[in-house]
């Protein structure tokens, strides 16, 4: 047995925390994208607004889910930042000739080297994103009528935002960071858990690229679609 505190902070244990929270976020993000695909339906936002209104029907249960999600993000960020700081301390004196990859089996890349950079960028993005659509949905959005009931017109809010090229650029840029984070993150999460057979390793690394690509293109397409197609 290992005391809980130790199990959550040891080199191996802290990566369990990161990978489990990371996988939870990936699952959330997949569901989030599936829901957002309704934005591609060309019906003036009716399908999307209906989908969004569905959350309100959950009542207080929605807050439970949202708080849970927030907790996962905070845990992932806290552990991620703490781990990166420890790693920095593990090599106080840097190499003069910076180590680039020796090639072969190494996964050293822009993505794997910069997890903390892309991660912090995602953290900043999340603050803006939650304010932009979640908070403004409550305080700023107009209302629309769905089956005789008043609901926030989230579609109008999204549509207005993505008519502005600056917002489109912001979201597209953020999704690049997201793609890089997931490119290494997906594989890393499974390796951190030891959740693989040796023969799967290459396949999982390749799958990580596919997952990152599909999710990134899916999300990135939304602002671009709304800006260029309407």
């Amino acid at each position: 047995m290992i005391p809980l505190k130790r199990a959550l902070s040891s080199p191996t244990g802290r990566k369990f925390v990161m990978s489990i929270s990371g996988i939870a976020l990936v699952l959330f993000v997949i569901v989030h994208l599936l829901g957002n695909l309704t934005l591609y339906v060309p019906d003036g936002g009716e399908t999307f607004n209906r989908y969004a209104a569905g959350f309100e029907a959950m009542g207080p249960f929605l807050y439970v889910i949202e708080l849970g999600l927030l907790a996962v993000i905070v845990i992932h960020m806290t552990w991620g930042i703490a781990t990166a700081l420890k790693n920095r301390k593990a090599r106080p004196e840097k190499y003069a000739e910076s180590v680039d990859s020796k090639g072969g089996p190494s996964n050293l890349s822009l993505a794997s080297k910069n997890m903390i950079v892309t991660g912090v960028a995602l953290g900043i993005f999340l603050v803006v994103h939650i304010w932009h659509f979640r908070i403004r949905k409550v305080y700023v959005a107009e209302t629309t009528e769905i089956d005789g009931n008043e609901h926030a017109d989230l579609y109008a809010l999204v549509h207005a935002a993505f008519s502005d090229p600056l917002w489109v650029a912001f979201y597209v840029g953020a999704m690049l960071f997201f793609g890089f984070h997931l490119r290494h993150g997906f594989w890393s999460a499974l390796q951190s858990l030891g959740a693989m057979k040796p023969e799967w390793s290459k396949g999982i690394y390749a799958l990580g690229f596919f997952v990152a690509l599909v999710l990134t293109v899916g999300f990135m397409g939304i602002p671009l679609y709304i800006y260029f197609v309407g």
């Binding site: 199990a7 080199p11 420890k86 593990a90 180590v99 080297k113 390793s201």
Partner: protein, 253 residues
């Protein structure tokens, strides 16, 4: 023969002692035989330095045939140099080009403090092994040969992990200065074998925690360690260590 001789420019890290300020020093070595190993080339440089009454460049070596793990430093940003699956004692000057400038510096990690020039203190590795990288055997009558059966596939994998010579290149090459490959190789080697199984939980716990005490970084699954390892030990051994540790969180054995 003489036509093959090379001229090499060296930029070597010189540091008089653990708490002294180090700096790079330039040397030009002429008439370098391309069939010399990198260490033999340094021997030649040291002969000259000693002859001139200067301090020779301190570096570690023992077997000089790539099996003991004593030698090792960073050449042009790569642990043991650019060639894969090799130690500096087995790296030959023919893999460099005539007139090249070569940067030589010690392993850099908090857990590997510099003792002098290119020599670092790797006692932290010994302490990780002492924490659990062994099999306790009861004394008594010698068991019959082959009384413990081990499948060929298992013994092959354990042997691959056991190939670690403890040189420290994995730590040196890791962007996080993590000792996960070194520790993982031993944890996984012993966990696979029947003799090591009884102590597997205790071993995984103690070795991982010792690795943390020593101030090594945390593995980010980048795999640069495997690329730098002169014995090309696979990071699958790190994945195996994760499983062993996960098991050890919940079990007593």
């Amino acid at each position: 023969m003489a036509d093959d001789m090379m001229t090499i420019h060296l930029k070597v890290w010189r540091q008089a002692g653990p708490d002294k300020q180090g700096r790079f020093e330039n040397y030009t070595v002429e008439k370098v035989n391309p069939h010399m190993s990198f260490l033999e080339m340094l021997d030649v440089v040291n002969e000259t330095l000693i002859h001139d009454g200067e301090e020779p460049i301190e570096f570690d070596s023992d077997c000089r045939e790539g099996i003991c793990g004593t030698c090792g430093f960073v050449i042009n940003g790569q642990a043991h140099g650019e060639e894969r699956g090799t130690t500096v004692c087995q790296l030959h000057m023919r893999s460099f080009s005539d007139g090249e400038t070569i940067v030589v510096e010690p392993w850099r990690a908090r857990a590997f403090p510099v003792i002098k020039d290119l020599v670092v203190d790797r006692d932290s590795f010994d302490r990780i092994i002492a924490a659990g990288g062994y099999v306790s055997v009861g004394t008594g009558p010698k068991p019959d040969a082959n009384s413990v059966k081990i499948g060929k596939d298992v013994s092959d994998k354990a042997f691959d992990a056991a190939a670690c010579i403890g040189c420290g290149a994995c730590v040196a090459a890791c962007p996080n200065a993590s000792a996960a490959l070194f520790t993982g190789a031993k944890v996984s080697q012993l966990a696979m074998l029947p003799q090591g199984k009884p102590e597997r939980g205790r071993r995984a716990r103690r070795m991982v925690h010792q690795m943390q005490e020593e101030g090594f970084g945390n593995c980010s699954n980048i795999g640069e360690c495997e690329a730098a390892c002169p014995k090309e030990i696979s990071i699958q051994n790190i994945a195996k260590m994760k499983r062993e540790y996960l098991r050890a969180i919940f079990t007593d054995s």
